[in-house]
C-alpha cells in the first residue's frame, strides 16, 4: 500500500488535479451567513434524495431558527470534494462513505439514524447470506468453495462488503474461492437469482428477505439462510448472517461551530416518528452517534474505499501521504528541462524547448504551489548531513522558522527528545531497507517555544548514494491530541480522586488523588497498595485489608460497589470517604475503577443539621411547656385566689377570736377570784382550755396561717415564673433586667437544687438593663444552676445530710454584664474541660443528658449575644461558669452617661 510505481502516481496525480480544480469551481450556491448546508448522498439520484431529506432540512430550520438549512444532494463522485472544500457543513451519507469522510476529512458523526423497517426501529443493520432451500451440500462456509456468488453491487456496503468481510473473517476469501462473483444490481434481483438457481449463494442487506415476504414476493421456506450466532445481535429482529453495522450517521465537518453542531444533534434527536421529516425519510428518528469503528474495520479489511489502494484514493489523502513524491517529481522535471535545454539548441528546437520549458515551469510552479497548499508538512533531508534540503510552506508554518533558517537545521533540532546520534540510530532500519516506512509520534518545537504534537511518516527514497534522502510527511495532531487531552483533563480536573487499580496495585490516578491523600508525586503513590492508604482498621471494627477485599469481590461480582470508607493520608491523618468501585476491561485485563470522594465536609454539614435539629426540638419542647404553663396558670390562679382570700380572712378573724378568748380567760380568772361562778363551771372551763391547749394554739394558729400565706405566694410566683420563663414569642432582643431573670430562674429551678444545695445570690443592685433574648439567657442560667446541683449531688452521694452551695453573682463594667455561677460540686476533670461545649458531649449516664445543654448555652451566649461563656473548675472543689454579655453601643453610652 505504500509502494507504488512513480509513473502511475504521476498520471493519477494529474487526473486528480483536474478533478480537484473542477471541484473548486463547482456550482454550489453562495453561502449565506445563516445558511447551513447539509450534503446528502444521493445514491438514487437528486430527485429521490430531495424527496427523502427536504423535510429534514425544513425540520432543522424550524428547530434552530437562527439558521436556514438547505439540502445539497451529492453524487458518489461529488461527496468527497464537497466535504474537502467545505462546500457543506453537515453531511449525511451511508456508513461506508461516512467512514471515508471521517478518515480523510475528520468529519464527526453527531447522530445515527434510527431506520424504520417493517415496523421496527433499528440503528444498525447487516448482511444476510443465503442459498436455495434443499441445498444440503451447503452447510458451512467451507462448502462454498467453487460455488457461484451473487451480490448487489461492487460498492454496496450492506449488499456486498459486509458479507465479503464476514466470509473473509471466517477464513473464506470470496475472490479466490467462489467460482464466480456477480452483481445483480438490486437486492431483490439477488434473491430472484438465487431462487432461480442462477447463482448458488447470494447476499443482501438485512430485512430484504422479510420485506419481500411481506410483499408476497417470497416464501422463506424456499431459502436457507446462513445465520451466524452473534451475541450482540440478540435484539435484532431480522435474519442476519454478518456482524451488525451502524446505520447512516449525520456528520458535521470540522469547521462547523460546536454550538451549532450541538443544536443540530439535539434537534435531530428530538425528532419524533410522526414528524414529517421522519416520515419522508422512512426513519423512526435519530439517536446518539454509534461507534463506526466496525465499519472502518470492515472496509479496512476489504481494502476498499477509503482504504482502497491509491487508484481509489481521494487526492487530498494522496497528497497527504505521498506529497513528498511530488517534490521528487518537481526536481526530476527541473533537471530534465535544463538538460534538454542544453542538448537542443537549434532555434526552432530552442523555441519549442522554451515553450516546453515554460509549460514545465508553470507545471513546476503549480506543483510547488500545490505542495505548499498542503496542510501537512513535508520535510526533505539528506542522509549524510541530516540537514533539511526542502521544506514546504506547511512545514514553515508549523514550526515557525523561516525557510532559510530551516534549511540550516536538522530534524533533531526540531525534536528535542532525540539527539542527532539517536536519530540516526532510529533511521537505520530505513536505510538498511528493513522497513519501508517509519511512523512515529513526537513533538516539534515551534520557534516560539511550544511543542506541537505531530505524527511523522518517514521514508527513505532512492538509495542511490548521491541523491539518497529522507522524506518526512509530518502531520500536526494537536486536534487528536486535544481529544485525548480533553479526556485526560476530565480525568485530572475531577474533584473526586479517580484511580485505576490492577492486580498488583494502582495503575493510574488523577491529580486530585495526590491532593486527597497528601502525596507529592504520582510515582510515589502508584507504588502503593490500596491497603497503604487506609488505617489498619475501619471504624466499625474489622481490618481494612479484609474489608477492602470484600468490597473488591463485591465489585467484581456486581460490576459495582458503593460504600463508605475511612482513608488515611500520607501524614497518617484519616478522612471519611465515599468510594465507588466499578470494574472494566483494559487491554483484556479486568481492572478496578475507583472513585473516592472526601465526605468530611458533607459529614460536617450533616452534623450541623443534626445539631440544628436538636436545637429546634429543644425550642419546640420549651414552647410546648410554655403553652401548657399558660393554660395551667389560669386553672391554678382561680383556686389560688379563693384559698388566698380565705387565708386572708382567717388571718383577720383569728386575731378577733384570739381577743375574744383572751377576754374570756380574763373573765374566767376574775370569776374564779370573786366566786361569781360555781367551781364546777370554772373547772369545766379550765379543763376545756387545757384540753385544746390554748396557749399553744395562740401561737400555732397565726403561724399556720402565715405559712399558708407564704406557700400561696410561692405558688403564685412559680406560676408567674413558669409563664414568664417559657413565654414563647419575643424572639427580638429586648432590654432586660438580668437580676430579674436570675430570680425567676432560681424559683423555677428550686426543685432541682433545694435538696442538695443552699443557693446564695449577690446581685448587683444597680445592674443596668441589657439588650438580650431573655428567654434564652434564662435557659442558660437554668442550665448552669441545674448542672451545679447535679455536680453537688454527685459529690455528696445519695441520702447525704450535707448540702453544697450554689452562688450566683452579677456585676458589670463598661463593656459587659457579668454573671458568675459557682457550685461546690465535684468539678470537671482537666481532660474533659475543653470539650464540655461540644455538641453531643456528655459525661452523664445514658438517658440522663443529651449532651446538648452546654452546647446550646455556648451558642446562645457567643453566637446570639456576642458574649463569652467560660468555665473554671477544680476536681473536688467546684466549678465556676462566667457569662459575659456585652452591651450594645447605645446601651453602653447610656451607662456611661449615668
Amino acid at each position: 500500500m505504500n509502494s507504488l510505481p512513480p509513473s502511475k502516481t504521476i498520471i493519477h496525480l494529474l487526473l486528480s488535479l483536474c478533478f480537484f480544480f473542477a471541484t473548486v469551481s463547482s456550482v454550489y450556491a453562495q453561502h449565506g451567513l445563516d445558511t447551513v448546508r447539509i450534503g446528502v448522498l444521493a445514491k438514487r439520484g437528486e430527485a429521490k434524495a430531495l424527496e427523502r431529506w427536504s423535510a429534514t432540512a425544513i425540520y432543522l430550520s424550524a428547530k434552530i431558527p437562527t439558521h436556514t438549512f438547505i439540502l445539497v444532494p451529492l453524487t458518489f463522485e461529488q461527496i468527497y470534494p464537497a466535504v474537502e472544500q467545505r462546500d457543506v457543513d453537515f453531511v449525511l451519507a451511508n456508513s461506508a462513505y461516512f467512514a471515508g469522510l471521517e478518515r480523510n476529512y475528520g468529519v464527526e458523526a453527531i447522530a445515527t439514524m434510527e431506520n424504520s423497517r417493517l415496523g421496527e426501529s433499528l440503528t444498525d443493520f447487516g448482511g444476510v447470506i443465503f442459498c436455495r432451500a434443499g441445498r444440503d451440500d451447503l452447510k458451512e462456509h467451507k462448502d462454498f468453495a467453487g460455488k457461484s456468488f451473487m451480490a448487489v453491487d461492487e460498492k454496496s456496503f450492506g449488499g456486498y462488503h459486509m458479507a465479503w468481510f464476514h466470509l473473509l473473517q471466517h477464513g473464506f476469501d470470496p475472490h479466490k474461492s467462489f467460482s464466480k462473483v456477480e452483481f445483480a444490481g438490486t437486492h431483490d434481483a439477488v434473491v430472484v437469482a438465487v431462487l432461480n438457481g442462477d447463482s448458488d449463494i447470494g447476499t443482501v442487506r438485512t430485512d430484504t428477505l422479510e420485506r419481500m415476504v411481506s410483499e408476497g414476493k417470497l416464501n422463506l421456506d424456499c431459502l436457507k439462510v446462513f445465520t451466524h450466532a452473534n451475541k450482540n445481535a440478540d435484539h435484532f429482529p431480522f435474519l442476519l448472517s454478518t456482524s451488525l453495522y451502524p446505520e447512516w450517521p449525520m456528520a458535521s465537518l470540522p469547521h462547523v461551530n460546536r454550538d451549532l453542531v450541538q443544536k443540530v444533534a439535539i434537534g435531530l434527536m428530538a425528532m419524533e416518528m410522526d414528524d414529517q421529516a421522519a416520515v419522508d425519510a422512512h426513519i423512526a428518528g435519530w439517536t446518539i452517534p454509534l461507534n463506526y469503528q466496525p465499519v472502518h474495520e470492515c472496509l479496512m479489511g476489504l481494502r476498499v474505499a477509503p482504504y482502497a489502494s491509491l487508484n481509489e484514493m481521494g487526492f487530498g489523502e494522496f497528497l497527504r501521504r505521498y506529497g513528498y513524491i511530488l517534490g521528487i517529481f518537481v526536481l526530476v522535471l527541473g533537471i530534465v528541462s535544463v538538460f534538454t535545454m542544453f542538448l537542443n539548441r537549434t532555434k526552432r528546437e530552442l523555441e519549442r524547448e522554451l515553450c516546453f520549458n515554460k509549460k514545465a515551469e508553470s507545471k513546476l510552479a503549480e506543483f510547488k504551489t500545490t505542495l505548499d497548499q498542503i496542510y501537512d508538512c513535508v520535510f526533505v533531508f539528506s542522509y549524510d548531513t541530516l540537514r533539511f534540503s526542502y521544506v514546504n510552506q506547511g512545514a514553515i508554518k508549523q514550526v515557525g522558522y523561516g525557510e532559510e533558517e530551516l534549511l540550516s537545521m536538522a530534524p533533531s533540532d526540531l525534536m528535542l527528545e532525540y539527539t542527532a546520534e539517536e536519530f540516526k540510530v532510529m533511521l537505520k532500519p530505513l536505510v538498511d531497507g528493513e522497513v519501508e516506512l517509519l511512523s512515529f509520534e513526537t513533538g516539534h518545537w515551534h520557534k516560539d517555544g511550544y511543542l506541537v504534537p505531530v505524527d511523522v511518516h518517514l521514508q527513505y527514497v532512492d538509495r542511490d548514494q548521491n541523491s539518497s534522502r529522507f522524506i518526512a510527511v509530518v502531520r500536526d495532531i494537536t486536534k487528536q491530541r486535544t481529544e485525548s487531552e480533553r479526556f485526560r483533563r476530565l480525568f485530572e480536573a475531577s474533584m473526586d480522586a479517580i484511580m485505576v487499580i490492577g492486580m498488583d496495585g494502582y495503575l493510574d490516578c488523577n491529580r486530585k488523588t495526590l491532593d486527597m491523600f497528601g502525596f507529592d508525586s504520582k510515582k510515589e503513590f502508584l507504588r502503593l497498595h490500596p491497603a497503604d492508604v487506609s488505617p489498619k482498621t475501619q471504624p466499625g471494627g474489622g481490618a481494612s485489608v479484609d474489608l477492602a477485599n470484600d468490597r473488591i469481590l463485591e465489585a467484581m461480582e456486581n460490576k459495582v460497589a458503593l460504600f463508605d470508607w475511612v482513608h488515611q493520608r500520607k501524614n497518617g491523618s484519616c478522612f471519611p470517604a465515599e468510594v465507588l468501585l466499578s470494574t472494566f476491561d483494559m487491554d483484556g485485563e479486568t481492572v478496578l475503577h475507583s472513585v473516592v470522594r472526601d465526605v468530611t465536609e458533607r459529614q460536617r454539614v450533616e452534623k450541623e443539621k443534626d445539631k440544628l435539629h436538636a436545637k429546634l426540638l429543644h425550642a419546640q419542647k420549651l414552647e410546648a411547656v410554655g403553652q401548657l404553663a399558660a393554660g395551667i396558670a389560669h386553672e391554678i390562679n382561680t383556686p389560688t385566689q379563693y384559698v388566698a382570700n380565705n387565708i386572708t380572712f382567717l388571718a383577720e378573724v383569728i386575731e378577733d377570736v384570739q381577743g375574744v378568748v383572751e377576754l374570756f380567760i380574763e373573765l374566767l380568772a376574775s370569776a374564779k377570784k370573786n366566786n361569781t361562778l360555781s367551781s364546777e363551771q370554772i373547772t369545766q372551763a379550765e379543763e376545756l382550755l387545757a384540753d385544746i391547749g390554748w396557749e399553744e394554739l395562740a401561737t400555732e394558729i397565726p403561724e399556720a396561717v402565715n405559712q399558708s400565706k407564704e406557700g400561696l405566694e410561692r405558688v403564685t410566683s412559680i406560676v408567674q415564673a413558669m409563664k414568664e420563663f417559657s413565654h414563647p414569642g419575643s424572639k427580638e432582643k429586648a432590654d432586660t433586667d438580668i437580676n430579674k431573670i436570675i430570680t425567676t430562674t432560681i424559683t423555677v429551678a428550686r426543685n432541682e437544687w433545694k435538696y442538695v444545695a443552699d443557693l446564695e445570690t449577690n446581685l448587683c443592685a444597680d445592674l443596668p438593663v441589657i439588650s438580650c433574648l431573655s428567654d434564652e439567657v434564662g435557659q442558660v442560667i437554668l442550665n448552669m444552676i441545674v448542672n451545679g446541683a447535679h455536680a453537688i449531688a454527685e459529690k455528696l452521694g445519695e441520702n447525704s445530710e450535707e448540702k453544697g452551695r450554689i452562688h450566683l453573682q452579677t456585676s458589670y463594667d463598661t463593656e459587659c454584664v457579668e454573671i458568675m455561677i459557682t457550685d461546690t460540686g465535684d468539678g470537671i476533670p482537666d481532660a474533659v474541660l475543653p470539650r464540655i461545649f461540644d455538641p453531643f458531649f456528655t459525661t452523664k449516664k445514658v438517658g440522663k443528658g443529651t449532651g446538648q445543654g452546654l452546647a446550646i448555652c455556648h451558642d446562645v451566649i457567643t453566637e446570639k449575644h456576642g458574649g463569652t461563656l467560660t468555665c473554671e473548675s477544680r476536681v473536688g472543689v467546684g466549678t465556676t461558669f462566667t457569662i459575659r454579655l456585652p452591651f450594645t453601643d447605645s446601651l453602653r453610652t447610656g451607662v456611661l452617661k449615668q
Binding site: 386553672e635 390562679n637 383556686p639 379563693y642 388566698a644 383577720e652 400561696l712
Partner: protein, 332 residues
C-alpha cells in the same frame, strides 16, 4: 350612703371567699355576689351598683360581654375585670369596656384599693353630670373613630409594624397631623408621609396608640359638633397637647413606669376636654362632665381620675407619684 359593689364569678368559692375576705368593708359597702352574667344583669336591674367586678371566663355570657352590656345600659357604673388569664385577645375585647384589670390571684390590699378608688370616683361624679351627658347625646359611638376597628385588627396582627399601623392611621389626615404635632411640637412635615407617621408612632409608643387615637378623635368630634366655638376648641386642644408633653416628660424624669407615663400623657391631653362638653346652662362643672364621659367610654381609671380631680382641691387620693401628680406639675 353605702357604696354598692357587685361581684360576678362562676366559681362560688371565689364569691364566698371574697365575701369573707372583704368582711372588713361590710360597714361601708353593700356587696352583691352572683354566679354569672345573666344574674348580674338581673341584680343591676334590681338596683344598680356603683362598681361591678367580673370574672372573664364564665359559661354562657362571659365577662367581656357582660361588662359591655353594663356599659351600654348603666354607662356610669365603674367596671373592673378580675381574671386569671391575661391574653391579648381578652384584653382587646374589654379595652373600651373596663376601667381596670385585676389579675388572679389578687391580694386583698389591691382589691380593696381598687374598690376604694372606683367607688370614690363614682360618688364624686354627681348625678347632675350624668344627665348633662345624656342630654348632649354623648354615647360610646360618638367618640369611636371610623378607622378604630381596623386599627384594633392591625395591632393584633402577627405582622404588625410601625409602617402597617401608619398606613392604617393615614386614612385620617387630621389625626396624623395632630399626632405629629404632639410628638414633634410642630407640624414639621407632611402628614401624608408614611415614614413620618411610623416614626411618630414609635416616638409616642405603640402602647398608648389606641387610647391616643380615641382621645384625639374625641376632640375632633367635639370640634366638629360646635363649629362656632372652633377657635376656643383648638386652643383647648393645643393646651392639652402642651400639658400632655410636659406631663410625660415629668413622669419620665421621676422614673415612672410605662403605665404611669402613658396615664400622664393621655390625662394631660384630655385634662380639660370637659370644657368643650358643658353647655353652660346646667352649671355642672366641666371636669365632672368630661370624666363621666370617659367612664362611659371605658377609659383607664387613672386617666379619668386625672380629668376628674385635677382642679379639685385636696383630691390627690394617692400619696405616691402617679399620673395625676405628673399632670398637676405640668399644669401648674
Amino acid at each position: 350612703m353605702k357604696k354598692r359593689v357587685l361581684f360576678v364569678d362562676d366559681e362560688p368559692n371565689i364569691l364566698s371567699s371574697m365575701k369573707r375576705m372583704l368582711r372588713g368593708l361590710r360597714k361601708t359597702t353593700t356587696m352583691g355576689f352572683v354566679e354569672g352574667g345573666q344574674e348580674g344583669l338581673l341584680a343591676m336591674e334590681d338596683e344598680p351598683y356603683d362598681l361591678v367586678i367580673s370574672d372573664m371566663r364564665m359559661p354562657g355570657m362571659d365577662g367581656a360581654e357582660f361588662l359591655a352590656v353594663v356599659r351600654d345600659r348603666w354607662p356610669h357604673t365603674m367596671r373592673v375585670l378580675l381574671t386569671g388569664q391575661a391574653d391579648s385577645d381578652s384584653l382587646l375585647r374589654t379595652v373600651n369596656v373596663v376601667h381596670t384589670f385585676l389579675l388572679k390571684p389578687c391580694e386583698q390590699d389591691e382589691i380593696k384599693a381598687t374598690i376604694e378608688r372606683a367607688c370614690a370616683l363614682h360618688s364624686f361624679l354627681k348625678e347632675s353630670g350624668k344627665e348633662s351627658c345624656e342630654k348632649r347625646g354623648f354615647n360610646t359611638a360618638f367618640a369611636m373613630p371610623p378607622i378604630y376597628q381596623e386599627l384594633q385588627q392591625e395591632l393584633l396582627a402577627d405582622d404588625c409594624s410601625l409602617e402597617s399601623l401608619a398606613a392604617c392611621l393615614q386614612q385620617d389626615g387630621w389625626l396624623c397631623e395632630k399626632m405629629i404635632l404632639l410628638s414633634r411640637g410642630a407640624a414639621e412635615r407632611d402628614a401624608g408621609d408614611v415614614a413620618t407617621v411610623a416614626e411618630v408612632i414609635g416616638e409616642l409608643g405603640k402602647d398608648v396608640l389606641r387610647t391616643l387615637v380615641l382621645s384625639l378623635n374625641l376632640f375632633k368630634q367635639l370640634l366638629a359638633e360646635n363649629p362656632s366655638a372652633e377657635e376656643v376648641g383648638y386652643s383647648v386642644l393645643r393646651h392639652g397637647m402642651q400639658v400632655a408633653q410636659d406631663a410625660r416628660r415629668i413622669a419620665v424624669e421621676n422614673g415612672a413606669d410605662v403605665g404611669i407615663t402613658a396615664e400622664a400623657f393621655i390625662g394631660g391631653l384630655l385634662h380639660d376636654v370637659g370644657s368643650l362638653m358643658v353647655d353652660g346652662e346646667s352649671g355642672v362643672p366641666a371636669n365632672q362632665v368630661g370624666a363621666l364621659f370617659l367612664v362611659m367610654l371605658g377609659f383607664p381609671l387613672g386617666i379619668i381620675e386625672i380629668v376628674a380631680y385635677l382642679d379639685e382641691q385636696g383630691h390627690t387620693p394617692s400619696a405616691l407619684f402617679n399620673g395625676l401628680s405628673a399632670v398637676h406639675l405640668a399644669h401648674s
